[in-house]
Subunit: 314 residues, 4 copies
């Protein structure tokens, strides 16, 4: 449903063009002094270049006293300011191609046609706040995402891209066998991001073309020689084709994965929409270019990685 | 942990070389007459070409009366017959490269060194039984997997491969927004299969290189013209780059995805193992070739797809 | 943690003297037109005679469009207006007797000493809103609570009481065997209400003194004679000692249970408090009498009954 | 459904007169040496005086190596030996009064009429095994139940009774506010036991007749004087009317509660049964007296208390 996580559970809410988006975080330990600036910075990174021009100000509702967590649920919200329902009036009975308009309608029998409602990328701002809190609970972990491709869209089109992510500082032994595998949880976390369409650990799809003798990550003979300090030790394996996870459990190597995103499906050119009555109609949906779609996705990749990991590390 | 699903919950157990592997299925509706032959056939498909020579006979413990489900938990087990702990004695203190030996040890502080214990592919037999039951609860759904690449391993090496899967018969409107997205659940289900290392929906990683105008699946103008029968209608969209899911919810098109598997990490040639004390030692682990690794994975892909879907459809 | 329910999941938040209390409801079906007056009436019933003088105005944040549910999470909040942290300054290092001050401190290592923080009865206003929504989803069910005893407190003391509850309109067959028993869920729901200290179904503790031949609810011979209409039929059993639930599943008879509440532990006379440093100190905590404690508890009993039942009936 | 617990999750299965009853325990830590004799002793206590004459031998299927837990799921079963389906043939279309026959039928549309199927007390043997394992994981906790009343049934009738339980060794700070209250979880655990019909903490229903000044547990002035050793300290409070839990969290005092059980509903005299077609028929169900019903319930109370607590303490 709309909750993520078991130990550090984030329940999000809010439509793109309703009064607010927000979340309740249940499971945050007591006594943590939150760095509110770090949260605002993460939000600012996500907002960079976004089509909607609105500063995201977090309104904190509970769970904090003088910036210290109480151990009770942390509730917060972000008011929606740049709300223009009138822009969407002509879409009330139309299904845009590539969007979730049709599928929401088939599931719920009705929908909020304004700006995608719940399916809007607006909702990811909430994940970024929650992720920024999660990161502060595991300072030893470093999560870094990079936009590998995608780049600037052309004058009347959008582009897809790939975000790669490298996580350092997760000790060996984190994860679960079977259905709680760390890589399976990361896959689900990433595929929950709007526009995500592919996920791979380490060598990923390339590994499907390898032979076993090429794929296997060989042990480093110098691992744990010297002073036995894992922090300064030679890496455990020579290569990292597995992406730092074996049998669903981390081996202490960097956790590496890549996420493919399809292009933004709101394109700045006329498209054929499906009317509820079955006929097609050509409409110009939006003139605003979304040039930093993949860059923003990379910020959400980091947030979801943090939310995934904290549920294993708390 | 070791349970999969919420409405149709499968809890598995068993070590590769312990007395048995098995599961408890909670949530199966009452009054269903199970086709036991279909279950045995699925098991036989998975067993085909497996290194372990043992016929899998399902022992049913509960939840059935005269082959009819009672609505109570269905428990079953498969005895492990081809158990050879003596083969593994010399591995007691060794971590094989590429395996989960090291990570299990780091998590639990101890491990069952015999045949991978819980991390063994042996456990997937249990999933195949549960998946075969799930399939019988949704006869309108057709799940078909194909081995795209991989093929026969060479004389002293193993190979990876890709399994593609196409699911027909899932109506539009199945799934959840946000964190219960059908594609996210499929990703987690697939990445929970041993050796899975990548997952993509529809155009997948290829979509990251597309422009929006190329990627968007255009509406079919003839959809629902004629007699309005969805079964015989023109497909909803001209292309299916999204793989049949938009905003986490099915649109009624075939659900298409691909899973990358890395090569079997037990290779028929000597490999350097890491001893618990830190030194490396070259060992010949196993002389048995596993030629049908990807074919068997394809059977498990179908089973996990069924287990994923039934949790949305019940 | 702070969530109740699986299918209709209510996640609450808010400290008694923080900015707001509120909740997110996940799982409410789409397309339901909510009766906002009924929600306000339930809140007014709960507020009647409460020590805190503040009108509860619900601020709706998401999940609704023109009063119709969208199927997405319904978030709402109630601002705390009558917040007087200065009243509580002298309690910062004191544990009041009978309260949760000490146990919260031992669990979290810190606490919000203002008005009980999260343990305050203030939080039940949120449950009443959620319960009022749940009731609207099952119009065939009638939940009625009665204050059996308790009554007016004396001039400088508080009293306990018993609330009995009768639920009509739940068909036979609702519940689960084993750990999801309807009576077990009702027990947990009731014991989650502040001050609840006892729960019994039907004949309850009295049944422990009965013989089997007295206790067993005998079948009514005329049940289903006549036109076979269950609505107008003679009741299934002559007595209802079991309280309408057998083996964890409803039998169609009225569901009857009683909840014991201990007296309010804030009494209008001086009490000895425990200082964090170990010494005792006599303090007059509050001069305001809480005369309608049990009456308000009865409203919460109805709300929690609704929240319990809707998770079986959706 | 059929699982209990989140961190230490027990999933049970098995019909009374099917091949076996058993469970899978997920979440047991690795490296624990299980005392198998203690488990057998608990089973023997539960079996004492039971109508069914069969020695319960636990068959361990997974999760153990040389009696040491592996951290993987512990699966076990108890074969049903004293199975006499022919005894039940004449009950196939009859609903016994007081039993769950009718409610199961209304829920599932069919039922296993042999010996109560899933509703049988036979299933509690499984809980006793799981509880005995849980107890070994928290050796500092002492759980002791006492039969307060009930006693020997008369020559042709059964009796109810009350089991009181006292838990020592649970430190202050164990529990959760709101919906995860320790007392609420205990209530649900107890009400999940067959025949349980009432639950109360500490002063319980008696507290409903008290004034606040009588009910409040006063602080002990000598608490933590002396050497500050909580083990040897004066008890925290003079009385323990709250039963050791405040605001859902333990205060370190003994946790005290009582459970009411109604009489066994299989009585050794003729009773009127309801036929599926609506007519009543007088049948003599069983001639075997169940004299130790409440004594056996007391063993299950201890087991469920252990299963409840371990989910907070792990």
């Amino acid at each position: 449903m709309n909750s993520y996580g078991s130990r550090f559970r984030v329940t999000t809410y809010g439509e793109s063009h309703g009064p607010a988006v927000g979340a309740v975080i249940d499971g945050c330990p007591a006594g943590v002094s939150l760095d509110m600036e770090a949260i605002d910075e993460a939000l600012a990174r996500r907002r960079h270049g976004a089509p909607r021009q609105e500063k995201d100000e977090v309104e904190w509702l509970s769970g904090l006293k003088d910036g210290i967590t109480l151990g009770s649920p942390i509730a917060f919200l972000l008011r929606n300011k740049d709300v223009r329902p009138e822009d969407y009036a002509r879409l009330e009975h139309m299904f845009r191609p590539g969007h979730a308009d049709y599928t929401y309608y088939m599931k719920y029998g009705l929908r909020d046609h304004c700006g995608g409602g719940r399916a809007s990328a607006r909702e990811t701002a909430v994940r970024v706040v929650a992720g920024a809190i999660a990161m502060q609970l595991m300072p030893e972990v470093d999560i870094r995402s990079t936009v590998e491709s995608g780049g600037m869209p052309t004058e009347n089109d959008t582009v897809g891209g790939v975000v790669s992510c490298c996580v350092r500082g997760v000790a060996a032994g984190v994860g679960e066998p079977l259905f709680g595998k760390l890589n399976a949880s990361l896959a689900a976390a990433m595929m929950s991001i709007p526009s995500a369409i592919g996920f791979e650990m380490g060598a990923g799809f390339e590994a499907a073309r390898m032979k076993g003798s090429e794929y296997i990550d060989l042990w480093n003979s110098q691992f744990l020689e010297g002073d036995g300090n894992r922090e300064t030790a030679t890496p455990l394996t020579i290569t990292n084709h597995c992406g730092g996870i074996q049998g669903g459990i981390s081996n202490g190597m960097p956790i590496e994965f890549r996420v493919a995103f399809h292009p933004v499906v709101t394109i700045p050119q006329p498209v054929e929409c499906l009317h509820e009555d079955g006929h097609l109609e050509t409409l110009q949906i939006d003139g605003r270019h979304d040039r930093y779609h993949i860059e923003r996705a990379a910020v959400v990749v980091e947030a979801m990685t943090a939310l995934c990991l904290i549920n294993y590390l708390l």
